[in-house]
Every structure is written in C-alpha cells, then in structure tokens.
C-alpha cells in the first residue's frame, strides 16, 4: 500500500515536471498567464471590497473576517485545482478516445489524469489566496494559541482535500455523462464562491445541507469559527469546528469509490 502510494507520487512528480518543462519553454507566456490568473481570480475579492464600500459588516462579520474566509477557501481551492483539478479533463479524453491509451500504461490512471496538462500557471490563484489570507491575518484580532495555529494548518490541508474530493467526484460523474463537466463546476467553484462569505447569510437549512450533504462548510467555516473564537450562529455542536479532517476523509473515501466504479464501468467510445 505504502509502496504503491510512493510509486504513484513519484509518477505524478515526473509527469507534472514534464508539463512544467513544457510550459517553461515559453517563459514570457508562462509568466503572463500566471499573472493573468492571479488578477482574474482576484476580481472576486475586489468585488467584496466594493461591497464593503457600502457597509461595515456582512452577516455580522467584518471585512477582515470575510477576507480570512475568502483567503482560506481561495488557497484551498487553488492548491486542489493545481494538483488534482485536471481530472476534469476526463470527459474530453473519453470523447477523443485517448483515455484508452492511458489505461494500458504502467502508471495508475488516476495519477495520469491529475498530472495531465499540469498547469503550473494556476499558482496564480494560490498566490492570490495566500496574499488575501496574509492581509486578513493583519486585520483580524485572534488570540493565537497552539490549538488555533494547529486548526489553521488543519484547515488548509482538510480544505484542499475536500475540494480535491469534489473534483474527483465531478470527474467520476463524467464516466456517466461526458458533457457534464460544467455541472461539477457548480460544486467546486460554486463551493468556493459559497464559502467566500460567512454562512450566516444563508438560510439555516442550506447551512445544514452544506455541512451534511455537500460538506464545503468544513473547508473554512467551522475551523474559522474556532480560530476567530465565535459561537456557532446556528447553534450547531462545537465539535463540528474540529471535524474538518473527518469530513475530508469521508469525502475522499466516497470519491475513491466513485472513481473506481467509474473506471470499472467504462466501455470506451465508438461503435
């Protein structure tokens, strides 16, 4: 098991490294595209700044706190998108019939799909999220304790894993509907858009759904309540605030099962 994992990771690094060398050949283009990605993904945050020009707090949260939520979810989505996001190219691979070639190679199919067209320029979104998060940390008043630091680190890892799981579930769905990649966006990028704001702006039932059905509330909302030292506005158990790693693990297992089921049912294209 550990050996297989190590082999998969090594293969990922090799394949991704190959794509990095490819993009580095066109250096100017690479730098311009990375900067473009940084600015483009930053538009959402400028929109939040514009909104805050009209008010002092949103859903009971200050600009600094909203920036903290924004920065954490952006960073998690950015890393997940960079490392795993390319599995969403699966539908295209199926349509073009090139998935079959990947299946006979001696590298796990999942690793090949994640590394497919690995786009280092997506580092732009990661950088943008990190910048906003850094800025927010200078604005929010947090009584830092070792536990809070640990929860922040766990937030970044669990959040990335949750988005990664959603990417994989979306890709697995494409085994059923090859044109459906945009529907998956509703969960990944939609989940990101949802968690940029304090969940207090949504109805209580919606927050329950985001906790127990599509668990994006675990990306940053619950850990953020713990870090910011806030009581849960919906009166849900405080234990949820430390449960992000559990949610991430459950989603991972579901994604793995769905992916395997998809691969098994795949019958190639054509007549």
């Amino acid at each position: 098991m550990a050996e297989r994992l190590g082999w998969g990771l090594r293969a990922f690094v090799t394949l991704a490294g190959m794509w990095v060398r490819v993009s580095w050949t066109y250096r100017t283009s690479f730098v311009v595209m990375s900067l473009a990605s940084l600015v483009l993904t930053g538009i959402d945050f400028v929109a939040i700044l514009v909104v805050f020009a009209n008010l002092d707090s949103l859903g009971g949260f200050t600009l600094g706190e909203v920036a903290f939520l924004y920065g954490t979810t952006a960073l998690c989505l950015g890393v997940a998108d960079l490392l795993i996001g390319n599995v969403e190219r699966l539908g295209r691979r199926i349509r073009m019939g090139t998935l079959d070639a990947m299946m006979v190679r001696p590298v796990p199919l999942f690793v090949q799909m994640c590394a497919d067209q690995f786009a280092l320029r997506r580092i732009g979104r990661v950088t943008q999220g990190a910048l906003v998060l850094g800025w927010s940390l200078t604005r929010v008043e947090v009584a830092w304790t070792p536990a809070r630091v640990a929860v922040l680190l766990s937030l970044l890892v669990s959040g990335t894993v949750i988005f990664g799981g959603l990417f994989v579930l979306g890709a697995a769905f494409q085994f059923v509907s090859t044109d459906g990649s945009e529907a998956a966006n509703a969960f990944t990028y939609g989940g990101n858009a949802l968690t940029q704001y304090p969940l207090t702006i949504y109805p209580a039932e919606a927050v329950k759904a985001l906790t127990f059905v599509v668990p994006v509330a675990f990306v940053n909302w619950y850990p953020a309540l713990f870090i910011l030292g806030r009581r849960d506005p919906f009166g849900l158990p405080a234990a949820l605030q430390l449960s992000s790693p559990v949610a991430a693990l459950v989603l991972c297992v579901l994604a793995a099962v769905a992916w395997r089921a998809g691969v098994r049912r795949y019958r190639s294209t054509g007549s």
Binding site: A36, A47, L58, G190, I201
Partner: protein
C-alpha cells in the same frame, strides 16, 4: 436573406449540445442562488445601497446570470472560431467570400446569442423567479426596450471580442488578450458586482465604459431604473459603442489584410 440564413444555422449548431446546455443552466442557477443570498445580506445591512432595493438587487443577480452566455461575458462565441481560423489560416476562405466579413460573423454570433438567450438566459431566470421575489418589466414597451438593449449588448460584446480575436493576425494566439478582455468584461459589466455599488467617481467612469452595455444598461431598463428618455439614452449609449467598435474593427481588418501574410499560404 443571407445573414438570416447564417444566423439560423449558427442557432442550430449551438442547439445540438443539450447535455452541455443543461449542465450550464444548473451551474448558472447555483451561482444565481449564492449571489442572491449575498445580495440579500448586503441590502439588509444597507437597504438603499446604490439606489436599488433588495428586489432590484435580486433581479439584477438573475439577469446577470442570464447574460453570461447570451452576451458572452466570459468571451467565446463565434469570435473564438475567428481566432482559430486566423491561427490555422482558414480565415483566407472567409476573406474570399463575396460578403462582408464582419457581417458574416456578426450574423453567426447573433444566431448563437439567440439560442443562448432562449436556453441559458430564460431557464435560470425561471429558476430565480420560482425561488425569489423578482421585479418584472412594468409594460410591454419596457420589455421590448429590454430586448433591443440585449441585442445591442451582444453587438457591443461582439465588437470587443472581434477586436480581441483579430489581435491574432499579429500575435497568432488570442489567449492572453482574451483573458485580459474577460477580466474587464467580468468586472466592468456589473457581473462581479452591480456597477451602482461602485464608490464615488469610479461608478461614473464604469458607467461610461463599453462593458456597462453588457449587463448594467439592459438590467436598468428591465428594472425601470431608467424610464422615458433615459431608456432611449441607454439604447443610444449602447448603439454608439456598437457603431464605434464595428468601425474600428473594420479599420483593423483593412490593416490586417494589407500587412499580414496568411499562414499556410
């Protein structure tokens, strides 16, 4: 008529991808719901923000979702084909045709926009209307003015996208410029946040840029924020930008024809 025939075929071409359309409608609706709750929170905090009430804001959110594909705010549409054809050299065939190059592609894009208005425009709006309390045009005349405004929005957007695509005559690849153009379109159309929320002078400047013709102007006509002569003013503003962009595009096309050797020829 030729251009109508071209538009009808573009309409049919786009209408073949049903699964993609359904997936898109789903995504637009999800984002519409998210943005609606954000706007509800914003207008609860500041009930008169930007001169809108909360119903105006919610309606704006769903109209903006409806415009994304119709007006091609995220770029794309027939001008992507143009950029591709410039890169591959197929554009030579288009330049040979005994019809106006811009007219041909504008007709294609209007055909595409009609399909996207009827599918990706109407469907999310119906979803929004079922879930939230929205505002509707107060008269048939307003509704007609809105349709004219949307058509002009597509033409303005086509003008911008065509200029971007024609940059490929010199750069061979439009991707970089197209990304930059998308940035401006998302932010200054009102899709990211209604332009009425922009603080101070930035609001006045944003209102004068061509991108305000994409969402803000049609939405204000629908909402009755513009009435009487100001409706005509909004339409004239859009028509002005449309005419100017098409004229510039025509000029750039003449330059391109003179200077550029088509690849593969």
């Amino acid at each position: 008529m030729l251009y109508v025939a071209v538009a009808v075929r573009a309409f049919r071409r786009y209408s073949t991808y049903t699964a993609a359309t359904l997936a898109g409608v789903f995504t637009n609706s999800v984002f519409g719901v998210i943005i609606s709750f954000v706007y509800i929170a914003v207008w609860k905090e500041n009930p008169g923000a930007g001169g809108y009430d909360v119903t105006d804001a919610l309606t704006f959110a769903w109209l903006a979702q409806a415009m994304i594909m119709t007006v091609a705010i995220f770029a794309g549409g027939s001008t992507d084909d143009v950029a591709d054809r410039i890169r591959t050299g197929d554009v030579a065939v288009d330049l040979y045709r005994p019809v106006s190059f811009l007219g041909w592609w504008l007709a294609t894009d209007l055909g595409r926009a009609t399909y996207h208005l009827l599918s990706r425009g109407v469907a999310p709006t119906v979803v929004g209307a079922l879930l939230f309390d929205l505002r509707y045009p107060d008269s048939v005349l307003t509704a007609l003015a809105f349709l004219v405004s949307v058509t002009l929005a597509v033409v303005v957007s086509f003008g911008v996208r065509m200029l971007v695509a024609m940059s490929a005559f010199w750069l061979l690849d439009q991707t970089g410029v197209a990304n930059l153009a998308m940035l401006f379109a998302v932010f200054f159309s009102g899709l990211a946040v209604p332009l009425v929320l922009f603080p101070g002078w930035t609001r006045d400047v944003a209102m004068l840029l061509p991108w305000s013709a994409f969402v803000q102007v049609p939405a204000d006509i629908w909402l009755g924020q513009r009435t009487g002569m100001r409706v005509l003013g909004g339409l004239a503003f859009q028509a002005g930008w449309a005419a100017m962009l098409l004229l510039v595009a025509g000029g750039v096309l003449r330059l391109a024809k003179r200077k550029v050797v088509v690849q593969g020829g």
